[in-house]
Amino acid sequence: MKVLVCVTQALEVSAYLEFTADGTAVDEAFVTTSLNEADQNAVEEALALVEAAGDGEVVVVSAGGDEAEEALRAGLTMGAHRAVRVDVASVLLADTRTLAAALGQAVAAEQPDLVLTGVQASDTGSQSAAPALAAVWGVPAVSVARSLALGGRTLTARREFEGGVSDEVEVDLPAVVSVQVGANEPRYGTFKDKMRAKKAEIPVLTPVDLPAARVVLTQMSADHAGGRTVQMVQGGPAEVAARILTIVREVQ
């Protein structure tokens, strides 16, 4: 049983930010990164499946530059057996299909039984890597899985939909599954695990024949998507409570 888990280092940017000179990325001084939340659930799910099978390995793979290596080391710390990085300039990953093609080369090299991804990267929220990779690989995809169980070569999954609706599906392996945030309680590695992950050799795959970009990120600018200007309540909890009640009473 070999499970490949696609992981990514998710960005968090500060409220005030500046961009790189070419305008296609946030200046790293305004960015903090960590292993994407949903990917932590995917790694946990993979580790649990391999443990339940009694045999096998979990390989984490990430496409990108140095930041991708951080995601991989976080996955190794959690307990993944190996890591592979596919070397791609991060700006090219704005095209989902470039991402899928790059990850697809790791899949071709590793020939796993199952590929897991997180449901979405918390920074861009595309929810698209799993179906794109499944199409590249030519296997079925299961989206937004809440729980997984394996019986022989058949995977049973509970999928989530809007409105709290869920359904149960079955698929024969190989397949690609995106794992929902909160599907499980991701384990933390120990300090020793972290040290081992830090020293691990991470082989780098240089992708060949990536498809021509169909989508190009041309420009980033500061946004205020909420479109609202927040008015902060001064004072302590009493003032906050009073203000909340005033607002509520106005509409009742």
Binding site: V26, V142, P237
Partner: protein, 312 residues
Amino acid sequence: MTRSLVVAEIIDGALSPLTAEAVSAAAGLGDEVVVAVAGSDAAALADQVALAGVTEIVTVTVPGNDRDHDQMMQVVEALVAEVAPQVVLAPFTIRSTAWAAAVAERLDLAYTPDVVALGASGEGLSAERSIYDGRVRAQYSFPSDRPVLALVRAGAWTPAEPGGAPATRALDVAPTPSRVRLGEVRRPAGGVDLTTSDVILAVGRGVGGEENIAAFADIAERMGAALAASRPVVDAGWLPAVHQVGQTGVTVKPKVYIALGISGALHHLAGMQTSKTIVAVNTNADAPIFGYADVGAVADIHEVAEQLKALL
């Protein structure tokens, strides 16, 4: 002259109102808008997509239900081949994201999910997305002459009004059996309808534990508000799923939405950002929720709860 294909979103056999927003996005790009409705009862839904700007309706009657992504992928492929659009649009949802990237891959389309703006100029189509907690707007161009498949964010376009008398025709598609076999469906046990409440009090991870829920439920009741929660609270089992607001929960638009201990993850914002007035209380002054709030406070929600209790 742009020809767009809009793929209608069908949920549990009914037309999703988000379809009208995608039609509006398509109508903004050009004067030819073909809307496709696929499902076991597609012909019965055709009338509902006779919206302003729609020039043609194509129905595809297929056996499976609207959770069958593998079938939908084949249906959309057949539609793209038949209609030959320059642009394919659909609402950005759990269903559409499950087929869209795969269709793009198989048909060599340019693909972008979750767009908030689209533009057409002499240089071709461009798209914008709002990313990184809504703090960055990213612009995209499409350098090839391949069709563009874009999924549009809910609330980014005003829904197209009913109107027009587009011609309707049926397209025969015979999909191969899905590789994903669908089983039993579970719906959340009800009793709570958040969508009809004028005031919603929502709690997030900051509530701390199941033992603290009762206090907030009590405040909500005394305040005349419905109690809602963000995903982590439901995941942890502190409140049943029917209380969840967000992508996999309910989308709400109350007069007042009070977010207590909710940081404002993408998942949650998708379900409440169009509320009339948003109040947020969080201990982290840099929490994304404050970018979406009208009134905010950096405070401990338990201390605020104590004060609310005293006032109610």
